[in-house]
């Protein structure tokens, strides 16, 4: 789920099930009502004919003009496996047009809509890049889960795929290159491979778009050259496994992660829920714990379930698989649950209204 940065009434959401597949929902009134774009009653009455009903149509582009052949990718056992669309993992509205939005999907590919989600087309240069056959699914599937738009350069987009790694385009999505130099994943055969890293999430501050922060499967990383080289900034974290990572709204060197014990034990170390904050862009971390459970807490925090507002001081929010959403109105010093009996929280987004 995500709202448009230029129109807070416009919110996009992805829902999915094995039964009826992918559904895209859109609200034009800040969530009061939802519709599947291109299928509303008003559009049914359109003199231009019946609507297309293609808001949930995500078809890989294999056309000779704009597409790429549908290759295979690596399966868990190392064999090659056909590319199959399964679901939308992340929706990223553009920075300047509420009808323009990107979708990251499983099996990993990037789609774009310029008509408010009524129809979608693939930016096939990514999925069709020559490293595609080496990509493989992580535990959650081969998903494209992170889309970072550069506010200073509309042609530049950085994305991340589990488990392939990070990729960047500098030409608006036509061509892409892996940006994984410096990542080290000791649990795969070639720890410094060009692709094959299980990136969990990336974040940037709009004022410094060349600095990206990454929570990898293990390791918290940063780059100051838009991904050309990465260095580890895990520092004194109790564990550097985790899912979300986010940046303070006003302090580009203040970042947040939620350490999780390990890839096999998805809960906070010692049952103590702690949001670690670094005010130095990594390496040095503190964890103010006031308001967070410090015993018997065995929830996880998923990659899309953290967000910040733009108030002063910055508000920070995150949701848990136990159905709590915690908020801090003072940049992470003090926390309180603002709701606590939801199903597992998949996505937390914040809008700062005038």
């Amino acid at each position: 789920m995500k709202g448009s940065p230029v129109n807070p009434d416009r919110i996009y959401a992805s829902q999915t099930s094995a039964w009826f597949g992918q559904i895209i929902q859109r609200s034009d009134n800040a969530g009061k009502t939802w519709n599947t774009p291109g299928s509303s009653a008003e559009e049914l009455k359109s003199p231009d004919g019946t609507p297309k009903g293609e808001s949930n149509k995500f078809v890989y582009d294999t056309s000779p003009e704009t597409g790429k052949p549908l290759t295979t990718h690596q399966w868990y056992d190392g064999t090659q496996h056909p590319w199959e669309f399964k679901r939308v993992w992340h929706l990223e509205p553009s920075l300047d047009d509420p009808d323009h939005i990107y979708a990251g999907v499983e099996d990993a590919a990037l789609f774009e809509s310029t008509d408010g989600g009524k129809s979608w087309y693939e930016l096939a240069g990514l999925r069709g890049s020559d490293t595609g056959p080496k990509w493989q699914p992580g535990a959650g599937g081969m998903c494209l889960h992170t889309i970072l738009l550069d506010p200073s350069n509309p042609k530049r987009i950085s994305i991340a795929i589990s488990a392939a790694g990070a990729f960047r385009t500098d030409d608006g999505g036509k061509t892409w290159k892996p940006i994984n130099r410096g990542l080290h994943s000791q649990y795969i055969p070639d720890p410094t491979t060009e692709v094959g890293h299980c990136v969990h999430r990336m974040a940037l501050h709009p004022s410094r778009p060349n600095t990206l922060f990454m929570q990898k499967h293990w390791d918290v990383m940063r780059t100051d050259d838009a991904g050309d080289s990465w260095k580890e900034v895990s520092g004194n974290l109790p564990t550097d496994f985790g899912f979300p990572i986010d940046v303070h709204a006003h302090e580009p060197e203040t970042i947040y992660v939620v350490p999780i014990k390990s890839d096999s034990e998805h809960y906070p170390p010692s049952g103590r829920l702690r949001v670690y904050r670094s005010r130095t862009g990594g390496n040095e971390w503190q964890a103010p714990t006031k308001g967070l459970p410090q015993r018997n807490c065995y929830v996880n925090v998923l990659r899309d379930a953290m967000s910040v507002d733009s108030l002063e001081p910055c508000g920070v929010y995150f949701g848990t698989t136990g159905g709590q959403v915690y908020a801090s109105a003072d940049a992470g010093d003090n926390w309180k649950p603002i709701v606590r009996d939801l199903p597992a929280v998949l996505s937390v987004e914040v809008q700062t209204l005038p």
């Binding site: 099930s17 599947t36 299928s39």
Partner: protein, 98 residues
């Protein structure tokens, strides 16, 4: 008049209560019923059968007059009871639960 019973989730998506009624010419087939259903309720496209292959989604089944027709040809004529509307065309989601 053809009567179609949707699974509850798709009724919510299509914003309908109870059965859906469609006007079709005979002979009536699974394909003609689904084509008509999707034309009237375009938000259902892709939820019952694949956008491109037009094949039934794996966890959706079609029942008619007590018979499972999920694996029949989509172009085979449906019984008169469907064409006349005395029996509904049932679209069923696979049962999930404990």
């Amino acid at each position: 008049m053809i009567r179609v019973v949707l699974p509850p989730h798709l009724r919510t998506l299509a914003r309908v209560d109870g059965e859906v009624e469609l006007e079709l010419k005979t002979p009536v087939s699974q394909r003609s019923v689904l084509d008509s259903l999707e034309a009237k309720y375009p938000m259902l496209r892709g939820t019952i059968r694949d956008h491109v292959t037009q094949l039934r989604r794996p966890m959706v089944r079609f029942f008619v007059c007590g018979e499972d027709l999920s694996h029949e040809s989509p172009d085979a004529p449906l019984p008169d009871a469907i064409a006349k509307g005395t029996e509904p065309f049932l679209i069923i989601g696979a049962i999930a639960g404990g």
